[in-house]
Amino acid sequence: MEPFSNLKSKPVPLDIVNVDTDQIIPKQFLKLLGKTGYGKYLFYNWRYDENGNAKPDFILNLSEFEGRTILLTREHFGIGSSREHAVWAIKDFGFKAILGTSFADIFYNNCFKNGILVVKLDKDKIDHIFLEKTNKNIEIDLLNQTIKIDSDIYNFDIDSTLKSYLMEGVDEISTTLKFENAIEKYEIDNDPLIFN
């Protein structure tokens, strides 16, 4: 995984609550066998009509938002299915960070496994950004855990382990494999094969 570097971009404001992963990536696109190539299906049903034509009013289809790498959302983003395809689509589309009030647990985890930073801010701050700052650059500094927009600086919380994984681009499995002795001891003491 690539390490996360500091980010500066205007946001793509997706002003909808309770966005579920069925919307982020509809099921007909879960049949691919790889992790890439999902970007073109991101928010497919909101983005395209029945004939596959881009809907002119959906935010991802507006040229002024093109190339922006921060997705601005609201409450309860990523609810529903555990499909990691949702994060692969967001990443493949070009987003590097998501800003919002709250996120579903599995979705939140999945983001960090793929190098996507998720930043939670209080509702009044998110409201303020939606209202006044959607055309301003947002600077995300992961090391110092700050977000800067104009002269506003917000601090955000992040689990220290997730943060270091993101900063170093760690492969989590190789870290865990260093605990081989502990895992083996657990297996000897507990016999997880309790059938028969």
Binding site: V17, S82, D105, I106, N114
Partner: protein, 471 residues
């Protein structure tokens, strides 16, 4: 220290722990995999030349995109077929047991785990599927994971996790539960009350007199939809109902092993006065049949109610109001209309929420000697081959088919429509599944979540009806 059942399972599975502030390494006892969320995980293993650490603890089946029509015919959908073949190859290469498409034990992963006796009290269970919470009904800690975590569990049989909060939901009742008030209605009204993120960051433990008297299958329905309330997992302390269910299941421990485990399992209940971070109480006597009207499972009303107006629904929250407006538009509904005035086109009885034997028996009582409305296309998709077989032994297939239902092979089917079973744009469906998200059952399709008996009655009348009048 007094502990909840979740605390006990957690402590029993700690492989390595720094402190409460950091994630701990947790051992995983059972790993279920299926064709849709696993291929990339096996790719990852191959890329790093890694093995599956404990192939004997991993079980696979095909459920999400399998056809539910005659399986002796070749699959039409080539991409789905490739996903299935990929799983077959992965299981073969890595030595994993697969209940394949023509296996007697094939079925929806959350239906077969319990019925095979793979799901046991006190275990940790994961699957690349959010409804893994179903297995919590056995007093297991069971939760959905993403594909990266599937790969992590395959390689290490462990996961890094932070401990969740304890959330207790006490469900009491004084009246006898009759057929009309189902586990589905209870969980839908819980989600209506606490919202789609009410359980966020928590493991919900369901307790109280209602739960104690509930069968295993109905406890599964409740735990299944915990994820719809945003919870990490849902569970019920195991008791004699659980133990009796598990005796004699194909993979259950046998004889002395079973008796030895019984002693451990009997300790697996929350201590009296154990501390919960959050607690709510619901009197189940007041719950009546529920129908969802919107595009998330919290958008639910009593069958006696009318479609709410967005202001009334949102209670002052501007974004929720917008979301309700959007939902009404998508669902093509107008506030103020009784839900029983709404006609439906399709009925789906199936999914890991409501496609077990008891669900089918109850629905069959409603449809027996009646006919499906001429305007409705209705289908029953049993949760597993074992459910299908048991139902056929009871003659349920004949009851459903005589009424005009289609009787299918087992799988996820129209719960998410990855196979050919989908709604057409604009079609309205009474569904016993768990998600009514936009397009979930087919692009442009409109889903109303209900219990099996409510779905059965709706099939007959062609509209939602208060099934209590029929019982």
């Amino acid at each position: 220290m007094l502990k909840t059942v979740y605390d006990k399972i957690w402590d029993n599975h700690l492989v390595y722990s720094y402190d409460d502030k950091h994630p701990s390494l947790i051992y995983i006892d059972r790993h279920f995999i299926h064709e849709v969320t696993s291929p990339q995980a096996f790719d990852g293993l191959r890329m790093y030349n890694r093995k599956v650490r404990k192939p004997a603890l991993t079980f696979a089946t095909v459920d999400h995109n399998v056809p539910t029509t005659n399986r002796s015919l070749p699959m039409v959908d080539e991409i789905s077929s490739l996903q299935i073949k990929t799983l077959q190859k992965n299981c073969q290469d890595f030595g994993i047991t697969l209940f394949d498409i023509n296996d007697q034990y094939q079925g929806i992963v959350h239906v077969i785990g319990p019925e095979l006796g793979l799901t046991l009290p006190g275990t940790t269970i994961v699957c690349g599927d959010s409804h893994t919470s179903t297995h919590g009904a056995f007093g297991a800690l069971a939760f959905g994971i993403g594909t990266s975590e599937v790969e992590h569990v395959l390689a290490t049989q462990c996961l890094w996790m932070k401990k969740a909060k304890n959330f207790e939901i006490i469900l009491n009742n004084t009246l006898k539960n009759d057929l009309a008030i189902s586990a589905k209605d209870v969980i839908l009204s819980i989600i209506k009350n606490i919202g789609t993120s009410g359980g966020s960051g928590s493991v919900i433990e369901y307790r109280g007199s209602f739960i104690s008297n509930l069968s295993m299958e109905k406890r599964m329905t409740i735990c299944n939809m915990s994820i719809e309330a945003g919870a990490r997992a849902g569970l019920v302390s195991p008791d004699e109902v659980t133990f009796n269910y598990l005796r004699d299941k194909p993979y259950s421990p046998k004889n002395e092993s079973f008796e030895r485990l019984l002693n451990e399992w009997r300790e697996l209940r929350s201590d009296n006065n154990a501390k919960y971070d959050q607690s709510i109480l619901l009197n189940v006597d007041n719950v009546i049949p529920q129908v969802t009207w919107g595009t998330n499972p919290a958008m639910t009303i009593d069958v006696t109610s009318t479609i709410p107006n967005p202001d009334e629904y949102a209670k002052g929250n501007e974004e929720e109001k917008k979301s309700a407006v959007r939902a009404l538009e998508y669902m093509d509904l107008i506030p103020g209309i009784p839900i029983t005035d709404i006609s439906i086109d399709r009925v789906f009885i199936g999914s890991c929420t409501n496609a077990r034997l008891e669900d089918l028996i109850e629905a069959s009582i409603i449809v027996k000697d009646k006919k499906v409305s001429p305007n409705v296309k209705a289908m029953v998709v049993p949760g597993s081959q074992q459910v299908k077989l048991s139902a056929e032994k009871l003659g349920l297939d004949t009851i459903f088919m005589n009424a005009g239902f289609e009787w299918r092979e087992s799988g996820c089917s129209m719960c998410l429509g990855m196979n050919p079973d989908i709604l057409s744009p604009g079609e309205r469906c009474a569904s016993t599944s768990n998600r009514n998200f936009e397009g979930r059952q087919g692009t442009g399709g409109r889903t109303h979540l209900v219990s099996p008996v409510m779905a059965a009655a709706a099939a007959i009348v062609g509209k939602f009806v208060d099934v209590r009048e029929w019982i």
